[in-house]
Amino acid sequence: MITRIFWRLVDISSGMLDSAEREAVRGDLSESGGTGSQALREVLGLVIRRQAALWADWRPWLSLVSVVVPLGMLLSIISRSTADLSSVYIWMYADNLDWDLLVSRGFWYEFAHCIPIVFMLYLTLVCWAWTAGFVVAYVSRRVIQANRFLFCLMLLFGVLLAAPKYLEYYGHYVPRALGLPFVPNLNAPVFAQAFYRVILPLIVQAVLVAAPSLWGMRWGAKATRLRPLVRLIACIVAAATLASMVIQEPGFWLFLRAYWRPGIWQGWQMHLLQFVVYWPVMYLVAAAIRRRRYRKAVLA
């Protein structure tokens, strides 16, 4: 059993080597007939040497500092805000459900109003996360394996420590510094429960951020195979999506002191940006159609 686990770990870690080298190394390990733990040590040694050689260059560091860390932090903050917002709706229905309400038309009217809001919040978050993963993989293809790990580490750090601290600072100290009146948190009973305070943000981060990011990384790593024009369009749309993510972050508007500018959310540019955010859905549908056509052509 343990031997099988070690060999499974050898398979996983050798995935960080390029395909030809993986083939040669796995063959050498089979031929030498060592134990699973020895094989794992050997493969990890090679992987570490390979990664260390890649990180001797300045470019991976630039992509880490300018893309991986900021996007990881930003996604964590937005994911936490989204989880908090959806917590209120979920709490309202899950913790306060009264069976008598089910016969009320008003209840269903309100329910039908809330479901699309939560769905769109989650879909938007998934699209942002997918785009972030796509961009991370596109700008750091050579160190994608390490960046995959670092990005997930960043998301974990973000959801557990950085995002709660940031939102606490934003909610408590910034209004005070700006001389705004104190507004008590009307949703305090929701966040008194550990599930909404700790567990739900973790679930949202894992399911709606980490998983789509890793999925987006798979597509971003393959993006160099796209035709130049398609690649250019993908880059522009991804940049616009990330820009929309930045401006949704509450602190950004505060930083620009533009939060209270009238009509800023009603401009056509905002509507266009909100539409562009869903590009991963269109991209994946287009890729699936293309793959299907290609299969049909091959079979014919």
């Binding site: 080298e21 040669a24 190394v25 796995r26 063959g27 050498d28 031929e31 030498s32 050997e42 090679l46």
Partner: protein
């Protein structure tokens, strides 16, 4: 262009001793030189373990210097159907190894461990 790789401004760029071991093992193995076989040769010669990490990164370095050529060979059943990374020492590699050996031989002349084995002055 690779011919003068180990001569730069009249300074001889020497091989590392591990690089020399690998070049020598690969030359000895001839057409049967590939990762696992070279590793066995080096381990037999030195009596200590040779890690796959050290072997493959050194093979890359030697290839970048133009001292060896590598390519993926055929898959064999005793390797679980996986291909070998075959190695061939180039003329530059032979020259580098020869010069390294000559330098080591020359610098070692007259020292205690080459004249009277086991005795110290």
């Amino acid at each position: 262009m690779t011919v003068d790789l180990y001569y730069y401004h009249n300074v001889v760029i020497m091989l590392g001793e591990f690089e020399y071991l690998i070049l020598t093992a690969a030359t000895r193995l001839g057409e049967d030189a590939y990762g696992a076989a070279i590793r066995r040769e080096v381990e037999n010669a030195t009596g200590s373990a040779c890690s796959i990490g050290a072997l493959y990164t050194t093979l890359d370095r030697l290839e970048a210097k133009g001292f060896i050529k590598t390519w993926m060979g055929d898959a064999t059943p005793q390797r679980g159907g996986r291909a070998k990374r075959m190695v061939q020492v180039t003329a530059n590699g032979v020259r580098a190894a020869t010069e390294f050996y000559a330098a080591v031989t020359q610098v070692s002349q007259g020292v205690s461990w080459t004249t009277s084995r086991g005795k110290t002055r």
